[in-house]
């Protein structure tokens, strides 16, 4: 066995395992981690097939950028949002698995019967360096496609901005309005004119989730973070466990 074959037979099961884990795990975060395993394995397979540039790009673009983006969105959407197990169409799961198996059988039988040429030593193609040879192709034969991808990337970035932008529900308060609110409050109560107490003051922790303590040891209501209260992520009184 050549080194390449050894690498293949070690990596291929890992890659398939990652793919199955992606489909089978209940939580979206686990799926993302399994997918990262698969993508790193694929990068190794690219490198062992004399495509070092693609292998590195795979790691940088996929496991680096794309998976981070996925994880960000999973965090935004909620880590523990898992799939509902109710079948909306009766027997859909079974049918999907059967179709998948049939599809795999067709693909594999067709592909394994095809006569592929004997593996040409790509080392000859990469004689001047893999990156240099690819660059030569991209900037000559594929120049137009390459230019188009730049337009595509710009469009995608602008499109994502437009989609992700949400208009303010309430107009932002100006500095003047904020100052007026603080020093000339509607109810005339000036006790907070010096600012609200910061969380964690005189308490055992200075974490933002720990309320400030008043001189008599009771937590101060005014020091609670509005966001944390909405998420019910505040610590107990005085930051005790």
């Amino acid at each position: 066995m050549t080194g390449e074959a050894v690498a293949f037979w070690i990596i291929a099961p890992i890659v398939v395992l990652g793919a199955i884990g992606l489909v089978a795990s209940r939580k979206a975060v686990h799926s993302a981690l399994w997918l990262a395993v698969t993508m790193i394995g694929l990068a190794i397979l690219y490198i062992s097939q004399d495509a070092p540039f693609l292998g590195v790009v795979q790691i940088i673009v996929y496991t680096g950028a794309v998976m981070m983006l996925f994880l960000f969105v999973i965090m935004l959407v909620g880590v523990d949002s898992s799939d509902s197990l109710v079948e909306t169409l009766r027997g859909q799961r079974l049918a999907a698995v059967l179709v998948g198996l049939g599809f795999a059988a067709v693909l594999i039988s067709a592909v394994s019967r095809a006569t592929l040429g004997e593996a040409v030593p790509v080392a000859e193609l990469n004689a001047g360096g893999n990156v240099e040879s690819l660059a030569e192709l991209i900037f000559t034969d594929y120049l137009f496609a390459f230019e188009l991808t730049s337009a595509l990337l710009v469009t995608a970035a602008v499109g994502a901005l437009v989609l992700a932008l949400q208009p303010r529900v309430f107009p932002k308060k100006s500095q003047r309005e904020q100052a007026t609110e603080r020093f000339r409050p509607v109810d005339g109560d000036l006790s907070n004119a010096a600012g609200l107490p910061a969380p964690g003051v005189l308490a055992r922790h200075n974490a933002v989730g720990t309320p400030a303590l008043l001189p008599d040891g009771t937590p101060s209501e005014a020091s609670y973070s509005r966001v944390l209260r909405a998420r019910e992520a505040l610590e107990d009184e005085e930051g005790d466990q």
């Binding site: 979206a28 694929l42 397979l45 969105v73 040409v120």
Partner: protein, 99 residues
């Protein structure tokens, strides 16, 4: 080493991705399965580049990666938008052609 091993691996990965798209209801996981299918086709491209003795397959795989990156950006923005208006990332809930 016989290059058709790689092609068979890529076919298996593609089928698993397709099954995932059919099975899963979380839009994010469906999206990841689509990424898996794109990756599987990339593996096939790289292998074909080798059996053909040209680098064109590698260039194509590179372009697929670029397009996939653009697709992920826009797709995730759409998922975020749907999540904002419906408070759910399930593809079952987005059954109307409007937000």
């Amino acid at each position: 080493m016989n290059p058709s091993n790689y092609i068979v691996l890529s076919a298996i990965l593609f089928s698993i991705g397709a099954v995932g798209v059919l099975l899963r209801r979380n839009a994010l996981v469906v999206f990841m399965c689509v990424e898996l299918m794109l990756n599987a086709s990339n593996l096939a491209f790289v292998t074909f580049a080798r059996t053909n003795g040209t680098l064109d397959g590698q260039v194509t795989a590179f372009f697929v990666m670029v397009v996939a990156a653009a697709e992920v950006v826009v797709g995730l923005a759409i998922i975020m938008m749907i999540y904002r208006s419906r408070r759910s990332a399930s593809v079952d809930d987005a059954s109307l052609l409007k937000l």
